[in-house]
Each structure stands twice: as structure tokens, then as C-alpha cells.
């Protein structure tokens, strides 16, 4: 099973500067293709079977999401369900357009997730750099503590966090959400970025020091740019954390700043009934832009990680 086929097609941009200084030699594309040609039929078959089985698992529910969104309200509960909606309708989608509140939720979600991503990358970068380039006692234990900090029941933290944020007047603000989510993304991001910084040669840092650059400057103008793909990858992961959370958003954000997950529940899971088509339609509509953005940034997701977390 050849493991490197995609590289020539999508060179993760971040590797270029690293590659010039790192000793890893880039094999010539021609030789890779030769390896490909030798890919055996058995391997191809296995690959296809995997794609069909696991891909089916991944995509059939997405199909069902779409099919439900297109089903008229009075037919959603028919049994047996129709695998293809008999009279598909865009009613559910049309209903979304007139629901202003949904756009408020969407805006809140985007604001919270983006700020979380940026802040998380910044904080994690400092922390990861410290873990990567310095040696001190307790460093390793601290790294594991950062990881372990995420094993506690967040519902338990919620009661106290609520009163803490309340005391500082931060309830019902973006700040409360951003601070919480940023903290919860630290383990992944710190570890990812630490791995990334490990691949940046110390010589580079030393050279800059000899030239008289301050340590902060070295981080900001040499290390971070080199680590850009890793930062983007970490940022995308942090984004998803903020994007997906339900219970913190529900409790800390208050009605004005509520994000999509509680917002969708609020809107479509009513006291009397669940508006399935509308809920599904709304989920699709809000996921799509994010999915497209992620697909566009895919090469960073993979490429940024390539040089980084894999060494963790």
C-alpha cells in the first residue's frame, strides 16, 4: 500500500521552508509514480471495499439528513419511511430564510468559533513552544496534566463557572464562551503544535539568537510563520470545538449570544412537536459553508499536521 501518492498533487505548503533546512530529502515524483504502478489489484480492491463500507457509514446518514429535509411535514413520520421522498419539497428550506433568529445563532456561532480558534492557536503556540524548545523539571508531567485536565466532567465545572462568570459580569457574553472553549481546545492544540515545533531545527532558532533577535521576536517572526500550516490545522480543530458545543453554549451564553446547537434545539424541538424537516434543513444549511471552507483548507488540515502532530 503506497502511502505517499497524494503528496505530489497537493504539496502541503508549510513543508517547503522546513524542507530546505530539514534533512528529509523529497523523493523525485517519477519514482513515486513507479511505486504506484506496482500497486496490486488486491490492494485496490481492498481500498474500494473499505471506501464503500466505511464511506457508506459516513454518507448514508448525510443522505438521510437531506432526504428528511426534503420531505413534506405530513409525510415525515410515515412508516415504512420512503428512501426517496415521494413529493420532495423545499418548504423546509424556504421556512429558514424567513427565520431571522437562525441568522443570529449562526452569527454567534461563527463569532465564537473564530475567536476561539484564533485565541486557542495563540495560547497553544506559546505553550507548545515552551514545551518543545525548553527543558525544565516537570515539563513532561505538565504536558500530561494539560491532557488530563480535559478528563473531568465539564457539567461539574459548569455550576461554579456559572457563578464565576456571573461575578465578573461575563455571563451572556461571547467572552464566557470563548474562554471556556479555548481552554478545552488546549490539550489537542498544545500537543499538535509542540510536535510541529519539534520539527523546526533548533539551529534556526540559535542562528537568529546569535543575530540578536529577542526570544519573543524569534517566536513571532521566525517560528510562527514556519509553523503556519500547523497553526491553521490547530485553528480548524479549535473552531470545531466551539462550533459543536451544546451545554456550555446553552448555559453561559444566555439568550442573545446563543450559538447554533442550543439555538437549533430551541427553534425546532418544541414543547409540542419536533420540526424534523426544518431541523435537518437548517443543519445542512449551516454545515455547508463550514464544510466547504474545510474542504478548501483540507490541504492544511492534512499538510499542517503532516509535519507536526505526527511526531507528538
Amino acid at each position: 500500500m503506497s502511502a505517499t501518492t497524494q503528496l505530489p498533487a497537493t504539496p502541503p505548503s508549510g513543508r517547503a521552508p522546513a524542507a530546505t533546512t530539514a534533512p528529509a530529502p523529497a523523493p523525485a515524483p517519477r519514482r513515486r509514480r513507479a511505486a504506484l504502478r506496482s500497486e496490486r489489484p488486491g490492494v485496490r480492491l481492498a481500498a474500494w471495499v473499505t471506501v464503500v463500507v466505511c464511506g457508506g457509514f459516513g454518507l448514508l446518514p448525510v443522505y438521510w439528513l437531506l432526504a428528511t429535509a426534503l420531505t413534506p411535514r405530513d409525510q415525515v413520520f410515515a412508516y415504512p419511511p420512503r428512501l426517496f421522498p415521494a413529493a420532495p419539497t423545499l418548504d423546509a428550506f424556504a421556512a429558514l430564510a424567513s427565520n431571522e433568529q437562525l441568522f443570529v445563532y449562526l452569527r454567534n456561532s461563527v463569532v465564537v468559533s473564530v475567536i476561539t480558534a484564533v485565541l486557542s492557536v495563540l495560547v497553544s503556540a506559546y505553550m507548545g513552544y515552551s514545551f518543545s524548545k525548553f527543558r525544565y523539571r516537570g515539563r513532561r508531567s505538565l504536558m500530561y496534566l494539560v491532557l488530563a485536565s480535559q478528563m473531568f466532567p465539564q457539567a461539574l465545572l459548569l455550576v461554579t463557572l456559572y457563578s464565576v462568570f456571573s461575578a465578573y459580569g461575563l455571563l451572556n457574553t461571547y467572552t464566557a464562551l470563548v474562554l471556556s472553549f479555548t481552554t478545552f481546545t488546549l490539550p489537542l492544540c498544545v500537543w499538535m503544535l509542540k510536535g510541529f515545533f519539534d520539527t523546526i531545527p533548533d539551529e534556526l532558532v540559535e542562528a537568529a539568537r546569535v543575530d540578536g533577535a529577542s526570544r519573543l521576536r524569534i517566536i513571532h517572526s521566525i517560528v510562527l510563520p514556519l509553523a503556519a500550516p500547523g497553526l491553521i490545522a490547530a485553528g480548524l480543530f479549535a473552531f470545531v470545538r466551539g462550533w459543536n458545543d451544546f451545554i456550555f453554549a446553552l448555559t453561559l451564553a444566555g439568550p442573545d449570544k446563543q450559538t447554533l446547537p442550543p439555538g437549533l434545539v430551541n427553534t425546532f424541538i418544541g414543547e409540542a412537536s419536533t420540526a424534523w424537516p426544518e431541523l435537518m434543513a437548517a443543519s445542512l444549511v449551516v454545515s455547508l459553508p463550514v464544510a466547504i471552507a474545510f474542504i478548501a483548507l483540507q490541504k492544511y488540515l492534512v499538510g499542517g499536521l503532516t509535519a507536526g502532530a505526527v511526531k507528538g
Partner: protein, 434 residues
């Protein structure tokens, strides 16, 4: 709804008994103000109107929001104030509201399920709305439902009950012409309905934990008081019989697994069940969701079958009230609460939008309301004999209900027998009350 309710008096007496117990617990817990002790009394006087906040789970719900928002708009315009809207999903509403009230984040008018009044009142921040209720012709049942510890913590808005809703056409098709009066006849009727085939569920009773508390009303039907003074009676023969009967229906496929109120409504709307438990609030949902355009005409409300003919049918009080949380804007919020629950025009508008029964005598007499046959039937056959859940008197009632629900569920799925499960449920509930 004008007839005094026989059981509520008993319930109220219970509440008074509990007052002593509540105070005892409070002292034991060494908490500063005893429950309700610090509650202010609503001022009825004039004074300048101020902005305030109004919270309701319905404010963002697609189907319910427009009706409420239009009322808020009307009050706001008339009085020159702006009303801040606060909303949480129904299932999380009371926990979130509790947090907000306790943290001082929320003051103003709060739409509450009457079941929640006890928990909210325990925070000691609800106003006594008794003086406001004077001179308004709220129904006796409504006033009682919106009280806790004998204090009028809420003004009744839409008070009704949860009872059996049926599809008369389906029942007729199954050969059930007279709705059964006794439990034995009911079981026989369900067996008949089962013969309709086609995946029909004879009775879409709640079997998911969230609404499994519906079983409590059947326990009462079988003769268990649930609570005698401050002694939990769950575990007694009647409660065990009720659960055994439920399990029998479950095993025979007369009730179905994985059903909560939402599912039951959907099944009913699809014509896959002729009987389920609901309050009037569910009517809109089943009618609009149904492919059967005549469903509204087939709806009927039925008295819950009883153990022996002649017994009083049981039903659970269910309804919405408005409570006022002391603090900024509370005075105007209280005025709003009275207006929205008693103003005839507001009542008419809200009834027309949502079909929920109002809680004042004069609004009930409105021609629009009186013309609602199903509503009238519901009041007569169900609401008339409705009683509150005795556990609502305790702030821990939700925990009590879920402890019971979990045990009943264990019986349904066959991991425990009814007797030991109910004994365990009773012990747990007792532990929570003590």
C-alpha cells in the same frame, strides 16, 4: 371548569402539612432564608412602567413564538416599555431559569409549567402574586394549580390537564364504539385495536424515561396515593399492580417501546395509534402534522378508565402560569402577568392562535372559546377531575420522578420485577424527600 375540584382541596391540605416539613428541612440545611421567606409581595399600585424581561420556552419555537410575541408587542406598545425576551428549550428551561434566577441574572416575568413552581419558589425570589389575583375571575382550579405552599406564586395562564386523546374514527374501525370505563375493558379494547394490524400501536403510552412519569397517574388510578403525608407509598400493592399491568401491555405489544410525548403525537398524527396521553397544547401539532386532513374532526378527549366502575377518573393537572421574579422591572412584569392572563382581548387572541384554554371564567365564556367542542369535552371529561402530582410540592420533584421512571423502565425492559423495582423506587423517593 367551574366546578370545584374534589381532589385539589386534599392536595392543598397536603401542601400545608408539608410547609412544616419544609421549614424543618430548611432549618436543618441551615440555609439563610427559608423557602419563600424573602419573597416580596407584588405591588398593585400604579407607578411608572419600566422595561422588564419575559422568559418562556415558547419564544423561539417556530409554532408558538408569533402568538406570544404579538402579545408582548401589544403590551409594550400600550405602555411604552420594551420587553426583553429570554428563551431556553423546554427540556432545559427550568434548570437554566433556576441558574439565572439564583445568580440574579434574571428578574421579571417568567412563563412556567405549574410543576416547576415549587423548585422556583425554593429560591426565595418569587413574588407573592396573591394581591394581584384579587378581583380577577381566575378559575378556582387555575389559582390552586399556580400556588405553592399556599402562596400564589403564579398567575394561571392556561390551565388544563393531561388525559387520553383518541381518534374516534380509528376506534370505530376497530370495533370500539364505547370508550371503556374500567381498566379491564380498556385492556380488552386495546387487544381489539391491535387486530387492526399494519403496525398499529393500540395505546401510544409513554415508555421513554422523559415522560414515563405518566405512569404515576395510572398508579393513582390503581389506588396508590403516591404520597401519604410525607410517606412515599410507591411500592404498595396498587403501584406494583399498575406497573405489572403496564408491563403486560408492553409485552403484548399493546403499548410500544421508545415512545415519548413527541413520538406519541407523531404516531397519532400518522394514524398509527388511536389513543395517547396529551394536554390540549398537543392538538395543533397532531393536526398540522397529519396527512389526514379531517383528523381535527376525529379527535376526542376521554376520561381515563378506572379500576371499578363508579370511581372518579384520574387526570394530571397541567398548565402554564406566569411567575414574577423580584428585582428590576418586577413591578411592571407583575402588571404584565395580570394583563396577559386576564385581559379578554389578549385571551381571545392567544386562544385563537394556539387553542390553549384560558384560565379566567370570563375568557372561558368567550364565544370563540365556548365554541371549541374538543376543548369543552376535554375540560368536562379530563380537566374536571384533574389533580396535581403530589411530588411537585418538593423542589426535588424532578429527581423523584426520574428515579421512579428509571425503575419503571427497568421493569419494562425486564431487568427487574415490579415488586422489587417499586420498592426501590419508593425508597429512593423517600430518601429524596427526607
Amino acid at each position: 371548569m367551574t366546578t370545584p375540584i374534589p381532589h385539589t382541596a386534599l392536595t392543598r391540605r397536603h401542601l400545608f402539612q408539608l410547609l412544616g416539613l419544609g421549614a424543618g428541612t430548611a432549618a436543618l440545611a441551615a440555609c439563610a432564608p427559608s423557602a419563600g421567606g424573602s419573597a416580596g409581595t407584588a405591588a398593585t399600585g400604579g407607578g411608572a412602567k419600566t422595561d422588564f424581561a419575559f422568559s418562556s420556552w415558547s419564544l423561539t419555537e417556530e409554532t408558538a413564538a408569533p402568538a406570544i410575541q404579538s402579545l408582548l408587542g401589544a403590551y409594550g406598545d400600550d405602555n411604552g416599555v420594551s420587553i426583553e425576551e429570554v428563551s431556553y428549550p423546554y427540556n432545559e428551561y427550568i434548570s437554566q431559569l433556576t441558574l439565572q434566577v439564583q445568580g440574579g441574572q434574571f428578574t421579571g416575568a417568567a412563563h412556567v409549567d405549574v410543576a416547576w413552581l415549587g423548585s422556583l419558589a425554593a429560591l426565595g425570589k418569587l413574588q407573592d402574586l396573591g394581591p394581584l389575583a384579587e378581583g380577577v375571575d381566575y378559575t378556582e382550579a387555575g389559582l390552586t394549580a399556580a400556588q405553592f405552599d399556599g402562596v400564589q406564586y403564579g398567575l394561571p395562564w392556561n390551565i388544563g390537564a393531561i388525559g387520553l386523546v383518541t381518534n374516534s374514527a380509528m376506534l370505530a374501525k376497530a370495533g370500539v364504539d364505547e370508550f371503556p370505563v374500567t381498566i379491564d375493558d380498556f385492556t380488552t379494547a386495546l387487544t381489539k385495536i391491535k387486530k387492526l394490524g399494519d403496525g398499529v400501536i393500540p395505546y401510544a403510552a409513554s415508555t421513554k424515561a422523559a415522560q414515563l412519569k405518566d405512569i404515576l397517574i395510572w398508579m393513582e388510578t390503581f389506588g396508590s396515593p403516591l404520597l401519604d403525608g410525607s410517606t412515599v407509598t410507591i411500592g404498595d400493592d396498587a403501584s406494583v399492580e399498575a406497573v405489572t399491568w403496564y408491563k403486560e401491555l408492553y409485552d403484548k405489544g399493546l403499548i410500544a417501546p421508545d415512545v415519548d410525548r413527541f413520538d406519541a403525537r407523531s404516531l397519532f398524527a400518522q394514524g398509527r395509534t388511536p389513543i395517547y396521553d396529551d394536554a390540549i397544547v398537543g392538538r395543533d401539532a397532531v393536526v398540522t402534522e397529519s396527512p389526514d386532513k379531517d383528523l381535527a374532526g376525529k379527535l376526542a378527549a376521554q376520561s381515563r378508565p378506572v379500576l371499578a366502575a363508579g370511581d372518579t377518573p384520574r387526570a394530571l393537572v397541567w398548565g402554564g402560569a406566569i411567575a414574577v421574579v423580584d428585582g428590576e422591572g418586577a413591578e411592571t412584569a407583575a402588571d404584565f402577568a395580570r394583563w396577559v392572563t386576564s385581559d379578554p382581548d389578549a385571551a381571545r387572541e392567544y386562544f385563537e392562535e394556539r387553542g390553549l384554554p384560558p384560565a379566567t371564567e370570563s375568557a372561558l365564556a368567550l364565544p370563540e372559546v365556548a365554541a371549541d367542542e374538543f376543548g369543552a369535552q376535554f375540560s368536562e371529561r379530563i380537566t374536571a377531575t384533574a389533580t396535581s402530582n403530589p411530588f411537585w410540592a418538593y423542589p426535588q420533584y424532578a429527581q423523584i420522578e426520574s428515579a421512579i421512571a428509571e425503575q419503571v423502565q427497568a421493569v419494562l425492559v425486564g431487568s427487574k420485577d415490579a415488586k422489587s423495582a417499586m420498592a426501590h423506587a419508593g425508597e429512593t423517593a423517600q430518601g429524596l424527600i427526607d
